[in-house]
Subunit: 441 residues, 2 copies
């Protein structure tokens, strides 16, 4: 799926005198749907259900300002200086406090602080992937991970999910399929909690089963858990890292439980891997921001961060409820996931609709979303949409879903008109939902 | 020089269950001399002439605190949020103001903000280097650049320098040598001003000549200029980027003119390359820290940053003068470079001394330095030492050079004793300096 050819972007051809000089891996760096969307969605009149921006307005700014003031007053010269490539030891201790909330114990030596957990994804991929190596990835999966994997010329092999997360039997089949093709599997990338983009959570039993499969097959697990503490009804099952030290690299982030503007995430890795991760991190950026780390460390030691996470939970749960209610009201014939935490709902359109093709119309109607194809490396997800409830207010969410409904109905009308004399029957027969959309009947 | 074999670190072998899973490029991630030194040099009783830490104590902290307070009061929700992958537009405008000081003009579109200029090095290398591609690099060169280049399996080809910087004729010869070996040169990496580690500056005439060579050979220039504004007697010649837009990627940094703790640097690149750099940056970390960028932007728009750079110049010039005077007093028979700016002096020991082997003795005598071999990819620099005058106070510098003199004299005594009955004559004959060291005669 990762073609090793040059990109054919307009700027990448005869206008670029260095066109023939790029590394092969540069072909994996293509402009994603999501990137173009960020520009569009930033216009204030557009209700964006597209991005994954956290609700930083729910974080009292005085808490941040006080932490900063204290850091500068007490450790100013440390905050302004270079620091250790692995991260400030005191912050790594605080990260273990956060991890204890999810049942993970470890040593400060096992923690590597990164510039957002995105950088941890990049470093792990750099460390393990030769061109053509296989990464097993949920179908669908985080667009930013797919981008990193491609940038190191990985072959991305999707594994099916259902409402209970990754399907163990599908994992076994994928492993057999890849092995019989002679390729090498380097790791399984999974977001077990409130998955991005699908919003589903891996059950406890499946976690055990997937760990058993990976252990017996010698496959490393890369467990990405940025949303684990942002649950609604109750906590998700314990992370895989809580029962398996040697076979799991765990990724965490302060972007969702504090603020993304500081770019602080972390990896907890088996000892030997951790050593190499630190070297890779030093090579990439020398060290993470001392200032950012000390501010977060100060916040975690003086503020009531657990209660703040509880506040975030309340904010996101209200928005999720608003979105699900709006979907039920306006698009009752469609299907969508019911997340128990996190940021995202995954909407399935009638299978004759193309969410990416429909996007310009949506932007005209002042609503943005992320088309499902962004979350597949193989062109899948054509009739899927990721809806983010994290950033817009409940009122904006209601407005956004109303606008989206208008867009979907117009698109169906258009298709009906266009197909009135021809393939409409085919379209009708291919519908995957039971109740036909009102506009078609 | 970059052997593509597995690293043989103690942890990398039978203790690591994932030993056989790493990518080939992971072999390039070995622990450098400098890294081990950072741990040693952080002990307070050691005078460290080793690291490259700026004198952040010369930056009035109230300027930083005021910028932070203003950012949080006026743009708090932006500072805490994700931002653009290319960097905050307002900061990119301020970067152009800084660049104007060095005679570089450009568009805000050409600037990419990075997590320190180290990240720009990483992204450029990722973008251009296939395994085995050649990077032309000054001999000696920045240890962190050599590390990044190795981590992408580049072949590093050193090009000789003298007191006037990179030698154009040596560049021509290196190009011929590499081409005749059938390998591909991807770029020339150069630090023209107050070079790290050699402390020398490329003359204006050579800049013209080197640009001509690279233009006619189709070789991209990666111009790394973290110290350019930190000159002593007068500004260095204009950067190569000031006369050549399409063939030069320029790297800048706020780590030396403001503070490294925020991790903000930048690249100015030809348009098509810049587009790919942004994609690579987004893949690596999504976006640089909004908070760090806004604080620096605020500092640049409200503080008298030009006068602050002047303050830094005074601090570093005094330290440089102190170091040169101490060297002249204690080690008159040795040779060293006389930098007109920046952080470093490059000391040449008698060629029968091994600076790396001597380092444990130095640490015992409570002085640290960086052995020359760290700055070569080919084992060169055995009798060279990089001395940093950026961080220690003048008193510490005097003490450090006294201690270093004791170490060097003891080492010569030891060699004399060891060789009294044998190869001493050989050693004496191989001395490259005119006046013999007092302890030997």
């Amino acid at each position: 799926m990762n073609s090793h050819h040059r990109p054919s972007s307009p700027s990448g051809t005869n206008l670029d005198p260095w066109y023939n000089n790029y590394a092969d891996r540069a072909a994996g760096l293509s402009v994603s749907e999501v990137r173009a969307l960020f520009a569009v969605a930033s216009r204030p009149e557009v209700v964006s259900l597209a991005g994954g921006m956290p609700a930083v307005s729910a974080l009292p700014q005085h808490l941040v300002v006080e932490s900063m003031a204290k850091v500068m007053a007490e450790q100013g010269s440390v905050a302004l200086q270079y620091g250790s490539g692995q991260g400030v030891p005191r912050l790594r201790e605080h990260i273990l406090d956060v991890m204890a909330q999810e049942g993970i114990s470890g040593s400060v030596d096992d923690v590597v602080v990164t510039t957002g957990s995105q950088q941890a994804l990049d470093l792990v991929t750099k460390l393990f992937i030769n061109p053509g190596d296989v990464i097993l990835v949920e179908a669908p999966s985080y667009v930013g991970a797919i981008g990193v994997f491609r940038s190191y010329q990985a072959d991305i092999e999707h594994v099916l999910m259902d409402d209970d997360g990754l399907i163990p039997e599908a994992l076994r089949e994928a492993i057999t399929r890849v092995k019989s093709s002679g390729r090498t599997i380097k790791f399984l990338y999974t977001i077990p909690n409130f998955q991005n983009p699908a919003g589903v959570t891996l059950t406890a039993q499946r976690r055990v089963e997937i760990l058993q499969i990976c252990r017996s097959e010698g496959i490393l697990v890369l467990e990405d858990n940025p949303y684990g503490l942002l649950y609604f009804d109750g906590p998700p099952p314990a992370p895989m890292r809580s029962t398996e030290d040697e076979g799991v690299i765990y990724l965490g982030s302060f972007s969702k439980t504090f603020a993304p503007g500081f770019r602080v995430g972390w990896a907890i890795a088996p000892h030997a891997i951790r050593e190499k991760l630190v070297l890779a991190a030093e090579s990439a950026i020398l060290c993470p921001s001392s200032f950012s780390q000390l501010v977060i460390s100060e916040y975690l030691s003086t503020a009531d961060w657990k209660s703040q996470i509880n506040t975030f939970r309340g904010v996101y749960e209200e928005r999720k409820n608003t979105m699900l209610a709006a979907l039920a009201e306006h698009l009752p014939e469609m299907t969508w996931t019911k997340p128990n935490g996190g940021f995202y709902v995954w909407l399935t359109l009638p299978d004759y609709l193309d969410a990416k093709q429909m996007l310009p119309r949506a932007v005209t109607e002042l609503v943005a979303y992320t088309p499902g194809t962004a979350f597949y490396a193989d062109g899948g997800g054509r009739n899927k949409i990721r809806l983010s409830f994290c950033y817009p207010t409940p009122d904006q969410i209601r407005l956004g879903i109303r606008r989206l409904t208008t867009v979907i109905n117009s698109e169906i009308d258009l298709l009906e008109t266009f197909n009135a004399t021809g393939p409409l029957q085919t379209i009708r027969q291919s519908r995957s939902f039971s109740a036909p959309p009102p506009d078609l009947d």
